[in-house]
Each structure stands twice: as structure tokens, then as C-alpha cells.
Symmetry: C2
Subunit: 193 residues, 2 copies
Amino acid sequence: MMYESLFNYIADYSRSSITKDEEDLIKNAFRPKILRKNQYFLQDGDVSKYTGFITKGAMRQYYLNKKGDEVIVNLFIENYWATDRESFFNLKPSAYNIDACEDTELLIITRADLAELMKKIPALVEMIRVMDDRHAIAAQKRLASTINNKAEDRYEELLRSNPQFIQRFPQHQIASYLGITKETLSRLKKARK
Amino acid sequence: MMYESLFNYIADYSRSSITKDEEDLIKNAFRPKILRKNQYFLQDGDVSKYTGFITKGAMRQYYLNKKGDEVIVNLFIENYWATDRESFFNLKPSAYNIDACEDTELLIITRADLAELMKKIPALVEMIRVMDDRHAIAAQKRLASTINNKAEDRYEELLRSNPQFIQRFPQHQIASYLGITKETLSRLKKARK
DNA sequence: CGCGGGTTTGATGATGCTCAAGCCCGGTGG
DNA sequence: CCACCGGGCTTGAGCATCATCAAACCCGCG
């Protein structure tokens, strides 16, 4: 069932296994949430009360720029955490929207409940440390890549690092995520090979 | 003396004060390191054994791209931590160089010693959590800004967020940090006002 | 005085954006 | 079953932004 993938994720990231008791604690603290395609998980202006672990589906995080078009900052699929970190930790209104690109299943928890749980389950603390670490490294790389590589290189990179994304998200969303227009991505794919 | 600024930093980030005993533990664990201008703190290929808290001076983190020119990924001044995170946490060779842009004073500590210290000083754990949090948020914003704004906007943004940088680093390094060429930055400054 | 790093200026070209139009295709209702 | 609609993708022409390369300039310092 859906908690299994969360248990596996924790074990993987914390490099330690969790006990049956801990599993029960987790089941009590995280609750399932189902979102239909196109349904919001977080809306611009609301506080990101929950962080959600995706067990099935796909989501995107975006904001509207001054011209009013969507700028996608993150794409999420199974085994990703969906939240606006700034809003979630500081409990302040978010500038982002997060919605479901497919029918999606999540396990959600509030900041307070997560803090409680971390006191009881050391593996969770370690998991978050490792996540933060990898996240920081990935962010550094994505930034460097955005600055130094041209559109085509970044697309190739995404093909290598996240081929699933290309399958599951429409091309204009991939383009936005890469920081280019849909027209450029279209031409670029044509030019390859 | 130099430890004061580290104590203040910890108190600030952990939103709690530290005891005299904890201060002593910190003094024993972190040791001072002096770097002359242009001296390396970390060289490409070496493991980033230490993380360093800067009490005085300025540093930069960069790598060499295929064409062989320096690409600056981070600039550091007082109250910043200098390290290659990926190398420091995983103890693997770094792809980056970090060197001093001025005569610089640091307080350095190894990963193992830091881990020990964190077991004894809860405020350190909290400090790191808050640092990671702010870091992730800042990285998100810097990425969004790089993707969506043009060179001039990004320069203005830096002027607002880190005016000290503009004073202390030569213009061609600022340009590299912003992801533009020195020529573009030069022209852009001329065009403003 | 002259060297050298940093900065500026100019000319040219590549990359990717904008706007507008057309196309493809799956779904819906007549 | 077909016609139409709409979303997503493609194509084209023109343009803005920025990189590149080369040369000159500026200024502090030996």
C-alpha cells in the first residue's frame, strides 16, 4: 500500500531501517490525500500547511510573472516531496501554485506534526539532512547549468537526468521548466538528429 | 575576538543562546585559519575536508569550464560559510576551487568534528536546519531570477541584496557570478542612469 | 617610465524571444 | 459518422539581448 513507498524512501535516505513501531507512528502522522488532475494542492496567497510525499501521480509548482504567464519552477512525480518550502517552514503566504498534472496520491503532514515525529524517529532527521544536502547540490548544479549551457545542452541534460519528465509532462511545461519558450524547445528537438 | 562572530551567528540562526560551556566546546572544535590574498582554501581535485566560517575577508568559489575560464558560482564574505558542500559531506574530490580574494580569517572544522559537536550542542543542529532552509529558498530565487530576468535586472537585484559584493569584488568577478560577461556588465552600468 | 590587471568601447554574430499563423489530433455533440 | 472545437505543437519572420573578439584605455605600482 501507499505507505510502503514512504518507508522505503526513508530507509533509503537515512541509510537505516525503521521499526514496526516507527512505521505505525508514521501511519498515524501522515494522512492520504487524493487530488484530481488539475486540482490545486497549494494556491498563491495561501500558506503551504502541508508537505506531501507523492506516492502516485505528477505535480508542478509555478508562479505567474508580471505578464501573467505561468513559470514552472519544479516538477514532481512519485517519490518527490511537494511543498513550498518557504511557506511551509515560515508559515507565511506562498507566492507559488502547486497543482496536479495527473490524478495524484499524496501522504501529507503539517509542519508541527512533522516536528513531533522527528523527535521520535531519528531516521527522519537523518533523511531530511540528506535530502537538504542533495537538494543544495542539485540546486547548485541546476543554476550553473542554466547560466553556462545553452538551451539544447540543458534539454539533453534533462533527458539524461529525468527522462520520466519528458514522458509525463506536456512539452510546453518542460520548456518553461527549462527556462525557454515552447517554440524554442520545438525547434531544438527538430534540429537534434 | 574572532569566535564572537561565530557565537552571534549561531545564536541568531538557532534563535537561542548558547552557554559558556558550549562556547568552550566550540572554541576547542573550530580552529583559526589565516589565508593570504589569492591563497587556496580548496583546490579542484582535493576533498573539502573543512567547512570554514569567515570572520574576516572575502572568498570566491569557482570552476574552470571546458574553455578554461573561471566560472564563479559563489562569493563569500564575513559571516558566510565557505565549503564545497558536496565534497565536504561525501568526502569526495571537489570540482571547485575556493580561494581568498583578500587576506582572510576563518574558523574551520572537519565533518567528523562538526558531527560530534552537533551531538552536544542542539543550537548547532537548529542553526544548520535554518541555514539549509534559507539556502534552499535563496537558491530557488536565484535560479528563477537567472531564468526569467535579463542581465540588468539581475544586476539591480544584486545591488539591492548584496551591495557589499559590488564594493569588494572586481567587476569581472561580479559579472561571472551574475552569469554574464564583463563587457556586458560594463555596458550595462554605463546605460543605467 | 612602463608594465599589467582591470575596465571600456566597437563591430559582428549567435541564440533565443515575440507574435502570428497554421497544423495535428482526440474528444464532443449534432 | 462527421464536423467542429480546442489544446498542444510546429513553422516562419523579425528582433532584442548578449557573447565574442579585438583594440584601446586607465591607473596604481614597481
